[in-house]
């Protein structure tokens, strides 16, 4: 990436650093040191479907407040997530999450009947609150979660990749059978560039760059809390 006079490269470098730092945080280390059992994988899978739904809430709010040309980018982003690329035979990500559950022995009803994790619910509300702020903060808060999931930006692999590897190691389920995880390993590399597209045009002032950093930092903080709750949930289930 070329250096630009308005500090875009510095901003981008800082955002990538923040995403990488997530993996050194205590909640992330706890979550990623868990050993998956079938019961743990089931609960994790169900809670991740709720997480994906919350992303849809937040991206909707971001689309509402963003300028028209950015609305169009988000609309296209949401096609993958909400509808699926029909022309490529790809399903939406919520359907994928439910289908992936089958390899853990879950039925579609299990996703409807299991409640949201209490701590997760609180984090979802917090993310929605950030999504309703000024649009640059809001878009950074949502987009940073996809940067954190981009294998191109994260040393040692994105969160989806690492979880996928753990499920393969602990349950012997190859990544290609983890259809939702595998999809996110690929798609979030592409989606991770959305924030840079926005920054190139709209982060021309220090105020704008600070807004992006503020939104990203707050979202990553919520993300750490959320992952901590997931780790608690998994640890509370039998380890064998």
């Amino acid at each position: 990436m070329k250096t630009t006079p308005n500090g875009i490269e510095t901003l981008w470098t800082e955002l990538i650093r923040m995403c990488n730092e997530q993996f050194a945080s205590k909640p992330f280390r706890r979550l990623l040191s868990t050993r998956f059992t079938k019961a743990r994988a089931q609960q994790y899978s169900i809670q991740m479907a709720f997480y994906v739904q919350n992303r849809r809430d937040c991206w909707g709010y971001v689309q509402g407040s963003a300028p028209l040309e950015i609305k169009k980018l988000i609309w296209q982003h949401e096609e993958d997530e909400l509808i699926g690329r029909k022309s490529e035979g790809k399903q939406d990500h919520i359907t994928l999450a439910v289908k992936e559950g089958e390899i853990f022995g879950l039925t579609a009803e299990a996703f409807e009947q299991n409640p949201r994790l209490e701590g997760g619910e609180v984090c979802f509300s917090a993310w929605i609150r950030v999504a309703q702020r000024s649009w640059l903060e809001a878009i950074a808060a949502s987009a940073i979660l996809e940067m954190r999931n981009s294998g191109e930006l994260i040393q040692g692999g994105s969160l989806s990749r690492r979880i996928g590897d753990m499920l393969e190691r602990d349950l012997g389920i190859p990544m290609k059978k983890q259809i939702n995880t595998a999809e996110h390993v690929v798609m979030d590399v592409e989606h991770a560039h959305l924030l840079m597209q926005v920054a190139r045009k709209y982060a021309s002032s220090e105020t704008a760059r600070k807004a992006i950093l503020r939104g990203a930092a707050e979202s990553l903080m919520i993300d750490r809390v959320y992952r901590g709750h997931l780790a608690d949930m998994l640890e509370a289930l039998p380890d064998a």
Binding site: R56, V62, W75, Q76, E78, L82, I83, I128
Partner: protein, 234 residues
């Protein structure tokens, strides 16, 4: 008691009543001049942008199935309406050419103060209400534009006819107004189908009516404001 049938009848009555309000009568009674027409067309593009804001907010708060319906709705509006071969904002700008407007006229347009207040009010309803209220608030503006429901024609049709009768510009040349005569009929019917799925109780009805009442009140204020500003243009 047919809860849904009664509710839809009430919504139909409300959109018809809009045209009996003093604000609507004032707006539709302002004689058009070319300058007033230009003002209206630019303002209508800003209104279209505000609709995109609100539908995004509504999508954010709605259940998953409703999000999908809104996403499809926004395909016409934001990306490409096959009826027009372009999105609805581009359509508004293109329509402006007929009355001598350039794209820059839309880009540099300011939102007048009373209009700005209405836009913020619609944002508020879309973002800070139960999703059924928020959804209905946005839906009602398309229902109010549905010529199958509004006796005498929806708003786009009536304004299009004013351009035809008072400025001699055929409705077919006012491409945005012309497309909306049809598009909002389709949209309001597709969106209305969601009521059948989600409105089951008296409480649900009240949420729908709350959104409808608030949006119709803002709509009256908005049309009254447009009428006022148009009258200031000689």
């Amino acid at each position: 008691m047919d809860i849904l049938g009664d509710l839809l009848k009430t919504l139909d009555q409300m959109v018809n009543d809009q045209f009996e309000s003093i604000e609507f009568k004032r707006f539709l009674g302002v004689p058009l001049t070319l300058e007033r027409g230009r003002f209206y067309v630019v303002q209508n593009a800003l209104y279209t942008s505000n609709r995109r804001d609100c539908w995004g907010y509504v999508q954010g708060g709605a259940p998953l199935q409703v999000k999908r319906i809104i996403w499809e709705h926004e395909s016409d509006e934001l990306i490409n309406d096959p009826r027009a071969g372009m999105d609805h904002y581009a359509l508004s700008v293109k329509q402006g050419e007929v009355i001598g407007l350039r794209p820059e006229d839309f880009e540099k347009a300011e939102v007048p103060s009373m209009v700005r207040a209405c836009f913020y009010a619609w944002h508020h309803v879309a973002m800070h209400n139960h999703w059924l209220s928020a959804y209905t608030a946005s839906h009602m503006l398309e229902r109010r534009n549905n010529g199958k429901i509004v006796k005498g024609g929806g708003m786009s049709y009536r304004v299009g006819k004013k351009f035809e009768n008072e400025l001699g510009i055929n409705l077919k040349r006012m491409i945005s107004l012309d497309v909306h005569v049809v598009a909002d009929t389709d949209h309001s019917e597709n969106i209305s189908e969601m009521f059948e799925r989600y409105v089951k109780t008296a409480e649900d009805c009240e949420l729908v009516l709350k959104g409808a009442r608030e949006s119709m009140a803002i709509d009256r204020a908005y049309r009254g404001a447009l009428g006022y500003y148009m009258e200031q243009i000689n």
